[in-house]
């Protein structure tokens, strides 16, 4: 149970996961935001107006996956670091997972980092394709990680430090 462990369940995730059909079309955002809290910066962040939450700031965000282009602006704006970008069209067998990251040291593009799941368990070494540094004001970095396609819904963090060159 998310409320007792901090780990979202399969059921929690089903409610916010972009459908498989949509994921075949290109990058798309996934907001792992399951609790009604007063927070709405993601709505203003989206240039496509794909994120809505009605009139109540306490609602959970809803992403219109047809409008979402997977640009990743919301990922860096979400105060909860709960938005991820999934691109299952990245490679033949690989997907690109973009995740928010606020630890040092940062990996460099081309290095390999230990990928972690939502419980912080190791999933393997994956290639960091790009590191988009947060602005001096925003400070949240985006790690673009190439993972096996079947792990696109599993990898949600990397271990800070200990990066490998191959």
């Amino acid at each position: 149970m998310l409320i007792s462990t901090g780990i979202p369940t399969e059921e929690d995730l089903q409610g916010v996961m972009p459908p498989a059909q949509r994921r075949k079309l290109g990058p798309v955002a996934m907001a792992e935001c399951f609790q009604k809290i007063p927070c709405n910066p993601c709505v203003a962040a989206c240039r496509q107006k794909a994120i809505t939450m009605g009139n109540d700031i306490n609602e959970c965000p809803k992403i219109d996956f047809d409008l979402c282009t997977g640009c990743g602006v919301c990922l860096t704006k979400c105060p909860g670091l709960a938005i991820f970008i999934i691109d299952e069209t990245y490679g033949a067998d690989t997907a690109l997972v973009k995740l928010p990251f606020e630890y040092l040291p940062l990996p460099q593009a081309g290095q390999y980092a230990m990928g972690l799941n939502r419980a912080g368990e190791e999933l393997g070494w994956f290639k960091v394709v790009q590191v988009i540094k947060g602005s001096a004001r925003n400070l949240t970095h985006t790690i673009c990680l190439e993972v096996p396609k079947e792990l696109s819904m599993e990898v949600r963090n990397i271990r800070e430090g200990g990066y490998r060159d191959e």
Partner: protein, 373 residues
């Protein structure tokens, strides 16, 4: 000599900063007392991004919000900030005394806004007097203000937002967090914070507590154990955790000494985490001219403290005749902001507490003479 001031704001945290700014923007002359060397309160230690809406600067980090508010009020000729000045007492004639270095200052304000914030609660367990048992606020001060690494491996006690956030900040500072123990069966803080530390490998143990701390000269470890549904320790479930610090994040309670001294009517409200002053919608206490804003009126988020500060600031300024119509309009806007912030499930408890404050009964009348000699 007693100084006459128009609006005296006691405390320069999120509520006090916003109260000073709001009152001054209407034309009032404001004096702010801040016990630290620079105002900002807990904002200066908050390295995470804040929730809320744009109006409360959501998405900005706490320290950035604090710096922005401070820059604005420092540039405001209507606001005088007295740093390293600790309010000592509030007398029945409204005089407030304060200590600044070795100087004893006395103020007679026309309006007073008490924005004194909150104090951390402590937890009773064997070994809790060992060096290495910290309050979460101290850990944040060491790490985020002084740049000192507080420990190598920490056990966090409490899964409210503070426990979750400080665990995250410890991890960011390169400190290992052995785990977060939470006596309740549910995580108390925002689940996005919980998910963030959980995917960084920090276990969150709900239904667990710290049974004792051990160590010779300082904390060398903790014994944790499981609790039953009546919060009683279950024998045989003990586990030993090696750690050199235990960080307590077991809640806050309103810092209300000045309200008591002023003779405000007080009520014990569980939902607001302690005794709180009875306040009107304008946040005026039962002592005319004395307002209260922020955690002193009940423990809540910094975003609501900022909005409460605005309400008290506009109300105080309007009552002195400063731009009353404009102040009333802005106060109304702030009240709507506050209503929205509290409209969800997380605001339910606060609203229930505020309702109890408004109901008859439970009022504690203070004997004014208890505090004067």
């Amino acid at each position: 000599m007693i100084r006459n001031v128009e609006v005296l704001v006691v405390g320069g945290g999120p509520a006090g900063l916003c109260a000073a700014q709001a009152a001054a923007s209407m034309g009032a002359k404001v004096t702010m007392l801040e016990r630290d060397y620079v105002p900002g309160g807990q904002l200066v230690k908050q390295t995470h991004k804040f929730f809320g809406s744009e109006k409360q600067h959501a998405g900005e980090r706490g320290f950035q919000i604090g710096r922005m508010l401070l820059d604005e009020i420092q540039a405001d000729p209507n606001i005088e900030i007295l740093p390293e000045t600790t309010a000592l007492g509030c007398y029945e004639d409204g005089v407030i005394t304060a200590l600044q270095g070795d100087k004893h200052l006395k103020f007679r304000p026309e309006r007073t806004i008490l924005a004194t914030g909150a104090a951390e609660k402590f937890l009773a367990f064997p070994g809790n007097d060992l060096p290495g048992v910290y309050g979460a606020g101290a850990v944040q001060t060491l790490m985020n203000v002084a740049g000192v690494k507080p420990a190598q491996r920490v056990l966090m006690v409490g899964s409210g937002n503070i426990g979750l956030i400080v665990s995250y900040q410890l991890k960011q500072a390169g400190v290992e967090v052995a785990g977060v123990v939470e006596a309740a069966p549910r995580i108390g803080g925002y689940l996005v914070h919980a998910a963030k530390i959980r995917r960084a490998g920090i276990p969150i143990l709900t239904g667990w507590t710290v049974k004792e701390a051990f160590g010779k000269e300082q904390v060398e470890g903790a014994v944790i154990c499981q609790l039953d549904d009546k919060f009683q320790q279950i024998p045989g479930t003990e586990k030993t955790i090696a750690c050199d610090a235990i960080c307590l994040a077991v809640g806050l309670t309103p810092l209300t000494e000045l309200c008591w001294q002023a003779g405000c009517e007080m009520k014990y409200i569980r939902e607001l985490s302690g005794h709180v002053p009875v306040v009107s919608d304008d946040l005026e206490t039962t002592k005319a001219g004395i307002y209260a804003a922020g955690d002193v009126t009940g423990i809540e988020e910094a975003s609501s403290a900022m909005v409460e500060g605005k309400i008290a600031g506009y109300s105080a300024a309007a009552s002195l005749g400063h731009s009353p119509e404009e102040a009333a309009r802005l106060r109304q806007e702030a009240m709507e902001e506050l209503r929205q912030l509290r409209s969800g499930p997380t605001g339910g408890k606060i609203n229930a507490g505020i309702e109890k404050v408004k109901q008859d009964g439970g009022v504690v009348h203070v004997n004014l003479y208890r505090y004067s000699h």
